[in-house]
Every structure is written in C-alpha cells, then in structure tokens.
C-alpha cells in the first residue's frame, strides 16, 4: 500500500510539473504573432504523417537515419510498457497485463527486449560518433557547453532506461528460474545466479523504480532539452509552411500602405498591423518561428548545407534557432529585460551572410525554417533602421530610381536588341 501511495504521489508530482512546464512554454510561444497556419487541414495531416511520424526527410543521411529509426521505434513501442508500469504501480499488482494478453504477453515482452537492446546499441553508436567522430556539424562552436552536454545526457538516460528494463526482467527470471523465456534477460539472469531470492526481488524492484522514475524525470527534462523534438515534431510539422517554397509571405501592412499611397480614397484596415516592420525581437516573430526553435534538435544538417557556413562565415542556421529559443527563455524568465533578439543574440553579420538559397530549409528533417527568421530580421534592419550594408542601400536606390539593381536607365532596357 505504501508503495502504491509513493507511486501515485510521484506520478502526480511528475505529471503536475510537466503540465506546468507546458503551460510555461505556451506562455512563451504566445509572445509571438499568430502564424495563421490552420488552413488546409488534410494537407497538414499528410505533412505531419510523412515528416514527423514517417521520418520522411531523414533518409538523406542513411546511416544516421537507420540508428535514429531504431531509437524512435524503440522509444514508441517500449513505452507501451509504461501502460503496464502505471497500472501495476497504481494498483499494486505485478505484470497486470500478463493474464489479459495471454499467450501474446511473452512475445510482446520479448520484442520490447530486442528493441531495448537495439536502442542501447544505437545510443552507444551515437555516443561513439560524438566522442570519436569527426562530423563537423557535431563539433561546431555553437554546440560548446549546454547543447553538447544535453546531447550526452539524453543518450546516457536512454541507455539507463533500457538497461533498467533488462535488469528488471533478468532479476525476475533468475528468481523464477526461467519461467519467462526472454532471450536477453535470460542471458543476463545467468550473471545473477547465487543471489538470494530476497535480493533478486530487491534488484527487480529497484530496476522497476529506476525505469519509472527515469521516465518521469526524462519527461520533465524534455522542456529544457533539444530532445523536446520527440513531442514537438508533431505540432511543428503541422505548422509547416505550405505556401510555395520560393515565396516569402507578403506583408499585408506594406500592401495597404502602398495601395493607400496610389489611391487616396483607399482606407486600409490597420487594426492588424504589426507594431513595426520585420523582427527585432520575439514578439515580432510568428508562432511557428518559436515552435521551430523549441523543436530544433540541433542535428546541424542545416548548417552543414549552408553555403555561408561552409565557407567560414559567421552564419549558422542552427545557431539562429538556438538563439531564438534562448531569447524566448530569457524573456520567460525576465520579461522586462532590456535585451533583444537582434544584436544581443543574432548579429547583423550573421543576417547579411545569408544567400537565401533555402538549403537549410530543405535539409531540416522537421521542416524548420531558419530563413524565415533571417528575412524578417533583415526586414527590420532595412525598413525600420535603414541600416543595411551600404552596397545594399545603393542597390535599393537603383531599383527605386531606375528599376534595376545597377545604375542603368530603364529606357535602355531594350538596347540589347539593337546591339550586335
């Protein structure tokens, strides 16, 4: 009975803290403008199914995709066992699903074990890749400190959770003398021979509690971590940009202003106008931008394909996402601080290095769009501060005066026809 109370209390506390974290995140995301991306629901379901559930954009790097798939499938399927853990914990039972599932139970548990071992192998492979690999995208300077620690914590935790599962089965196996014929715990059980039944029981229970508390802790760790993508991947892909890839969404406020300029009788509806053009800070961005930032798992495929980054420029699309997330966190903690996303987190040098080539957007396995943020911040620089590089100002002046980025007269546009 005490165990049940402890279990229920822990479960309640863990659940409550997680709920509070989600509410805190919602508050953070609510700082942004709405994205207006709830149209075309059928298409959104499709994108979410293909990209998030179906891992549709992972395959460009087959080896990473394979190991990631193991961890993903393993995580989803093994977590079905959490249902049993919850029931056992709350009701004080032991393997409550064994009877209802009948002859299916052992094969299912066996599959969990196989997957558990596969997940351990995949996590170890990922750890080795981080320790000894030379993959540039995992070594960038923006990962130094928390992002790299975060990555390691996630992998260690997953290994611990899986090992606990195996030890739990093995201890039970050892005490019951092979009544549950699971392949891996059978092997492990042989290492536990000679331990008294009481101690085996203690080991089993400890492993069970480690697994349960581990899951609760991991759940509450997610909001601090790049690992949040396991949940946010779904809403994030739902809020994907569905308009043409090459199109920047038009600024209605600007259209209104121009129309009013051309036709003095036109009275624009300015109730929805943003407080300024472009983005200087979080409140200027739209909802999906922030969701993108929290969904980013810092894999660096974007940065790896970015022409500016590959040629040594300061810009890294991944860092744009990390900076955005950091800035949201900063504002949640202290809404009154006097910093901004621009300059304090993302520098002008980064923004002007972008070629808008869309490689980062194409590369992201979760449809994150760093380019959207870059363009909005450039809009702020140009339209609010008039502080573009001088050559860009000259280009804009030319377009304005003579309809071309160079200083040629528009009247001469047809001259090539007459030239040899």
């Amino acid at each position: 009975m005490i165990q049940q109370i402890v279990f229920a209390t822990l479960f309640f506390i863990g659940g409550t803290i997680f709920t509070l974290k989600i509410l805190r995140l919602r508050k953070g995301l609510a700082m942004a403008r709405p994205s207006n991306r709830n149209d075309q629901k059928a298409k959104r379901w499709k994108v979410m199914t293909r990209v998030a559930l179906g891992q549709g954009k992972m395959g460009t790097r087959p080896l990473a995709a394979f190991f990631h798939l193991i961890v993903y499938v393993g995580f989803v399927i093994i977590n079905l066992e959490v249902i049993e853990i919850l029931l056992d914990g709350l009701l004080g039972t032991h393997r409550i699903l064994k009877n209802p599932l009948g002859s299916f139970y052992n094969p299912i548990m066996s599959i969990f074990e196989w997957l558990g071992v596969a997940v351990i192998i995949a996590c170890v492979a990922f750890l080795f890749r981080r320790w000894f690999g030379t993959i540039p995208r995992l070594k960038h300077k923006e990962l130094v400190g928390w992002p790299q620690r975060d990555a390691h914590i996630i992998l260690y935790t997953e290994i611990v959770l899986m090992v606990a599962l195996l030890i739990m089965n093995a201890a039970e196996e050892a005490s019951l003398k092979n009544s549950a014929p699971f392949f891996f715990s059978n092997i492990l059980a042989q290492g536990l021979t000679g331990i008294s039944p009481e101690n085996l029981y203690a080991i089993e229970k400890t492993a069970w509690w480690v697994h349960f508390i581990g899951i609760l802790a991991f759940l509450n760790y997610l909001p601090y971590s790049k690992h949040f993508h396991i949940i946010l991947a779904f809403p994030n892909t739902w809020y994907s940009k569905l308009t043409k890839r090459g199109a920047i969404s038009p600024m209605a406020a600007v259209t209104n202003e121009i129309k009013a300029m051309m036709d003095t009788s036109f009275v624009p509806d300015i109730s929805n106008n943003p407080k300024h053009f472009g983005a200087k800070d979080i409140s200027d961005l739209h909802f999906a931008n922030l969701l993108n930032a929290y969904t980013c798992t810092e894999c660096g495929r974007c940065t790896d394909e970015c022409p500016a980054n590959q040629t040594g420029k300061l810009l890294s699309p991944r860092k744009i996402m990390i900076s955005t997330r950091n800035r949201v966190e900063e504002l949640i903690k202290n809404p009154e601080n006097e910093l901004y996303l621009l300059d304090n987190h993302i520098t002008r040098e980064e923004l002007w290095a972008c070629t808008t080539c869309n490689a980062c957007v194409e590369a992201c396995p979760l449809n994150i769009d760093p380019l959207d943020i870059i363009i909005q911040m450039r809009q702020y620089l140009v339209m609010e501060e008039s502080s573009a590089p001088q050559s860009i100002n000259a280009m804009n002046t030319n377009i304005e005066n003579n309809g071309a980025p160079w200083a040629y007269s528009q009247a001469d546009r047809g001259i090539w026809i007459k030239e040899e």
Binding site: R245, P250, M262, K313, N358, L381, N396, A404, P405, I415
Partner: protein, 263 residues
C-alpha cells in the same frame, strides 16, 4: 551569331493589334550585363528559330523586386511588383518565359498574391518543351562527347523543384553530363542569391563562388553549364580566379543549345 536580330516589344505588337504567344521577361542582368546579354540573345534566337511568336517589354520592364525583397526591403519589392503587375495585366499577358530563375520564382510564386497570375516558365523548361514537341531540333555538334557539369541555380532547383528540365535539355547535346557531389537538392549556392550579388561577402575562409567553382572544376569538365545569369557571373569569376578560363567554358544552357545549332 552576330547579325542584328529584330524583336518586337509588347507595345509595338499591341499597336499592330497582335498578341504574342509568350512574353520573354528579360530581367535586369539579361538587359544590362554584357555577359548576360549574350544569354538573352541566344535564347531569343532559339525562340525565333522555333518560330515562337514572342515579345519583350523593353523599357516597360522593371526589376521584379527579388533582390530588394531578399534584402529585406518589402516596401520596394511590393512597389516594383505592383507596378510590373499593372503593366502585365494591362497587356493581358498570360504566359511568360524568363532566363533568370530569380525573376522566374518571383513572377511565378510571389506575384499571384499581389494579383499577378501568369503561367511562368524558366527558359530551360520552355526549351525542353520545344525539343519534345520537335519545334527545336538540336544535334550535339560541337558539344558531342564533351564533359558538361551542370550547376543547379537555387531558385530553379530547391525553390521550384526543377532539376529535370535543364538536364533534359543538356542531354540533347549528346555530351557527357556529369554531376557534382553537391547537386540538385543539395546543390551549393553560387553565392549570388539573397542580394549577395550586389554586396561584398562577409568575412570567411573562402568566397562561396570560389568554393563552388572549385567543386565544379574538380569534376574536370570542359563546360560548366548554368541556367541563371548570376550563377554564370559568379562561376565565371571563379573559373578565372583559378586560371582555368582557357580550358573551361561557363555557358548558359540556352547558349550551349544555340551554339550547338550554330545559329
């Protein structure tokens, strides 16, 4: 190659009560840049050769607004776009072909939201159709067996998913088409997009156009083909930087087809 060509403007054509099958949107580079003008002329010759009734806007054409928009000047972009749309709609233009992927992307994907709805083609798409319909016939000629590497323009490839048309047109040359490692979806930008063409690059270890040119040259081509006047400039500069301009030609697909045909 160098005889005068006669191309009507849309105004002239309209004055004669005629309508073109398609409008050739020349773009700023195609109108003013000496290197890009050759691409413009090559494509115009191909259109004439295929007996396509086409016109240009001439002095009535203006920058599509792409570089302004990508540089963050939404106001200037919309001014340009709305003015162009007014011109195009006044002439009731329905079909447009352009040799510039940036104009192509803006006209095709961004003008509709401001009231400009047209059927827009990149010239490689249009050439592909002409070849398929037999309106244009090409034999490899000078290009037969030559090693050609194609550089995907971002605004044609990644932005518009068009990887096939330029390759299909190139294959008509009976040349040996080779691919760089970073091609198609993973194609490396030439460094000109996002209005980078008009400014100095940020500090780095190498300029993007040199990085790309180095990669293209490493595939040991005789010709580097592009479908964008800006890519053409960037990569031509890169080829010069590596002192390869005597050995490797940088050509637009329209130029290659036009030269193969010995027009």
């Amino acid at each position: 190659m160098s005889e005068l060509i006669s191309i009507p403007t849309l105004a002239e054509m309209t004055a004669k009560n005629e309508t073109p099958d398609i409008l050739f949107w020349v773009g700023c580079a195609g109108s003013f840049d000496d290197r890009a003008k050759k691409i413009t002329k090559a494509f115009a010759r191909l259109l004439m050769r295929a007996e396509i009734k086409f016109a240009v806007l001439g002095a009535e054409e203006s920058c599509s607004g792409d570089p302004a928009r990508r540089a963050g000047n939404e106001f200037l972009y919309q001014m340009q776009a709305l003015a162009n749309i007014e011109t195009l709609n006044t002439y009731k233009v329905q079909r447009i072909v352009t040799t510039c992927p940036h104009c192509f992307n803006t006209l095709k994907n961004e003008y509709p939201e401001l009231g400009g709805k047209y059927e827009v083609f990149h010239h490689t798409q249009f050439l592909k159709t002409l070849l398929e319909e037999g309106k244009l016939k090409v034999e490899g000629g000078a290009f037969k067996g030559k090693r050609v590497v194609f550089h995907d323009p971002c605004y044609l490839g990644r932005m518009n998913g068009e990887y096939e048309a330029p390759r299909k047109v190139l294959s008509a040359l009976e040349s040996e088409l080779i691919e760089m490692k970073r091609c198609k979806q993973k194609g490396l930008c030439c460094g000109a997009g996002g209005s980078q063409m008009f400014k100095e690059p940020e500090k780095g270890v190498i300029d993007i156009n040199l990085e790309r040119s180095k990669e293209a040259l490493a595939s040991d081509p005789q010709i580097i083909a592009t479908g964008c006047p800006f890519c053409n400039t960037m990569i031509s500069d890169g080829v010069k930087h590596f002192n390869q301009e005597g050995k490797v030609q940088v050509l637009d697909i329209a130029e290659a087809i036009s030269q193969a045909d010995d027009l």
